[in-house]
């Protein structure tokens, strides 16, 4: 079965652990930074971890082309979805025909549409 597919699971685990910690730190610290920097860093960590899981824990490193070919269409299709939907739904340029931006909210109390999103009844929402 998976002969010769050995790797040091503990090392991978420690890697995942450290990257999670770094990522959370980046997320907390980064909210003052500019978005590309914040997002770039977060995505870097996220994909690094996803890669570790896929490649080692899910054995992708030891699988043949068959498995890859099964996965191959997905990134392509995901890009297709984004490519077509974004210019339409999320267009904020000249072609944007939305009256209220997405995320606006109808306020029952005032009977008006609030263009600014209100997080929840008591501002802050969480804990």
């Amino acid at each position: 079965m998976s002969d010769g597919k050995h790797f040091d699971a503990n090392k991978v685990f420690i890697g995942l652990f450290i990257f999670t910690a770094l990522e959370v730190a980046w997320g907390y610290l980064g909210h003052g930074w500019n978005k590309p920097m914040l997002w770039g860093g977060l995505l870097f960590f996220a994909f690094l971890k996803a890669w570790l899981i896929a490649v080692y824990f899910m054995h992708l490193k030891f699988e043949g082309w068959v498995i890859y070919s099964l996965l191959l269409p997905t990134p392509f299709l995901v890009l297709v979805i984004f490519g077509y939907v974004l210019p339409d739904v999320a267009n904020q340029g000249d072609d944007n025909n939305l009256i209220h931006p997405i995320g606006s909210r109808f306020e029952k109390d005032t009977g008006r549409v609030e263009e600014v999103m209100i997080w929840s009844k008591d501002e802050g929402g969480g804990h």
Binding site: L77, I81, Y84, D88, D95, L98, R105
Partner: protein
């Protein structure tokens, strides 16, 4: 000429794959044999009969539609009492919307897809590739039974408060998400969404099974380029299901969230229905985007229309070659064009949204891709014609239906070019031209292919022939009435008649179209009536048809070297495939067919 001269002895050839030989034949009880069967053949037959019954239901709903369009607001015979008891059998406007919504949904999700992939996919895949069963027989059974909650929920929807779903088979929000927007948008719509999810999960189970079986269980020598085109069609349709359906499932859940939890994926924040005050009515407070649903829906449902036609194309190719006694013309281009249609099918969904408020620049991209789909389709059509050239055509019932498929798929496909053209679509979008187009491809196309396949594979399923003369009579009537119904819809559409209209004659512009609509409806009733011949033939032949040997059509593909009907494990001899599926009329050979697994010395 005896075609039963197939080897019953193992060929004694060293197989290239591993063979696992097991001897298990125990008697199985009735319930296990006919109801909770894990045998792909029985499951296929279960799908077949379920699909035919739902076809009848869908057909009856269509008759309701036709009655209303021919004689609006008059008492509908038979159906009226059942569907509209409160009004004494007269359709109501909201009742009409429910009629076509249910008709479309039932036909697409519970007739065509189960018949093509469920019935014939199950029956043919193991037999044509030389496998004893599906890779996962129990999953297969589960897939069949998983469809039932879907069917039941779908019909339960009719009985709930407000009645059945009434937002069209496309279920565009906000009509489908705001409860007070349509009476059928009460629980009916939620049940509809759940039903879709169940049928979707059922299809997924099937699709995983089909792909695994085709990839992993082919008999020795059955290289992929020797597979019959039916298998190719089914394989590619299964892949389409696998990659497109999850997105619809995700979207359905988003719609369920919108409906049940008042989430706001598909609603604009300033939506107001029926002048109701927002406190009472506004289903949701948060604002999303109505077009998002359309994108996600068509991301699945456009590939779905090819799921509804690619297997049909495969079956037709097999039937044409067999009854033309000639190899299929251009096997490889046929395979590539199936794949091409499927690949392009993923990037054209926007052609359903040209008028929807879609960014018009994006429309141009969608248009170009859509028009290009005609290319692989053209390759298919020309190769079918090429197959007939120089052939020895046997005008059997399956052959007639298969030729009928080609004749009418051309019509349906060609009208697709108008719609693909964005400027022309401005006028014809949502008119009866669209209705004509898709009925030509789904009814005159897929359903004709299903008829052809039933006549063709019936002997393998039941070991008996269907009556050929009766079948031909069935074909001639069906062909005439089908064209009577759907061809004239082009004319309605050119005159600008809108689809989904309960009473078109309220408009001056359409008033003169009533006679034409009545003609169409008469043809539709005749079409339904004519199917009595088929139903009779089907059931009669199951018990009293002429018994046949293994290979009544003298065909090449592997299923014909198994007994009719095949027993447990399908094949009673070891297989070694030595050639493609279409070696008909080889001048070197003794007979005019060379079965795939018979070696000629």
């Amino acid at each position: 000429m005896s075609s039963s001269s197939l080897p019953t002895e193992p060929l004694g050839l060293a197989p290239s794959g591993t063979v696992h030989v097991s001897h298990d034949h125990h008697e199985i009880g009735f319930l296990k044999k006919y109801v909770f069967s894990t045998d792909h053949k029985m499951i296929g037959i279960q799908f077949l009969f379920t699909g035919l019954v739902t076809l009848l239901i869908g057909g009856l709903l269509a008759m309701g539609i036709r009655w209303q369009l021919a004689f609006p607001w008059t008492e509908m015979p038979v159906l009226g009492k059942l569907l509209f008891p409160e009004t004494g059998g007269v359709a109501t406007p909201e009742g009409y919307t429910m009629l076509f919504t249910m008709h479309g949904t039932v036909m697409v999700f519970f007739v065509i897809i189960p018949l093509l992939t469920g019935a014939f996919g199950n029956f043919l895949i193991p037999l044509q590739i030389g496998a004893p069963d599906m890779a996962f027989p129990r999953l297969n059974m589960l897939g069949y039974w998983w469809m039932w909650p879907g069917i039941i929920l779908m019909f339960l929807a009719f009985g709930t408060e407000g009645g059945g779903p009434a937002a069209g088979w496309t279920a565009y929000p906000p009509l489908s998400t705001i409860e007070s927007a349509a009476p059928g948008s009460l629980n009916g719509q939620t049940l509809w969404l759940l039903a879709l999810t169940f049928s979707g999960v059922s299809s997924m189970m099937g699709a995983v099974n089909y792909v695994t079986t085709i990839v992993k269980m082919r008999a020795p020598g059955m290289t992929i380029m020797r597979m019959p085109l039916s298998i190719w069609g089914l394989l590619i349709a299964a892949l389409l299901q696998l990659f497109a359906l999850p997105v619809l499932t995700a979207a359905s859940f988003m719609q369920i969230f919108d409906r049940v939890f008042d989430a706001g994926f598909f609603n604009a924040p300033d939506t107001l229905v029926n002048n109701m005050s927002p406190e009472v009515d506004l289903g949701t407070a948060a604002g999303g985007h109505p077009l998002l649903w359309q994108h996600l829906f068509w991301f699945y449902s456009h590939p779905a229309v090819y799921i509804m036609v690619l297997p049909a194309m495969g079956f037709v190719s097999d039937i044409l070659a067999t009854h033309a006694r000639k190899p299929i013309f251009g096997y490889k281009p046929m395979v590539y064009s199936l794949a091409g249609i499927a690949g392009l099918g993923f990037i054209v969904w926007g052609h359903h949204m040209f008028m929807s408020g879609l960014n018009p620049k994006v429309s141009l991209v969608f248009m170009t891709a859509t028009i290009m789909i005609a290319l692989p389709s053209a390759v298919k059509v020309f190769n079918w014609l090429g197959t007939l050239w120089g052939a020895r055509i046997q005008l059997t019932t399956p052959m007639l239906f298969a030729i009928g498929f080609v004749a009418m798929f051309i019509i349906g496909g060609l009208s697709g070019i108008w719609m693909a053209s964005t400027p022309v679509d401005i006028y014809i979008h949502d008119t009866y031209i669209i209705v004509a187009h898709f009925h030509y491809v789904v009814f005159a196309g897929s359903v004709f292919a299903i008829f052809a396949s039933i006549y063709h594979w019936f002997p393998k399923m039941f070991g008996r022939m269907m009556n050929d003369t009766l079948g031909k009579v069935h074909f001639f009537g069906t062909f005439v009435f089908t064209n009577g119904v759907f061809y004239m819809m082009h004319q309605l559409g050119l005159a600008g008649l809108m689809r989904r209209t309960a009473d078109p004659y309220a408009y001056e512009l359409y008033a003169h179209l009533q006679p034409l609509n009545q003609f169409i409806s008469y043809c539709a009733f005749a079409l339904l009536g004519w199917q009595v011949l088929f139903v009779f033939n089907l059931f009669h032949s199951m018990f009293f048809g002429k018994r046949v040997g293994r290979n009544p059509w003298r065909a090449n593909s592997l299923e014909w070297s198994a007994p009719s009907p095949p027993g447990h494990g399908n094949f009673d001899h070891q297989l070694e495939v030595v050639r493609g599926a279409y070696e008909y009329g080889d001048p070197e050979a003794e007979e005019d067919h060379l079965p795939q697994a018979v070696r000629v010395s």
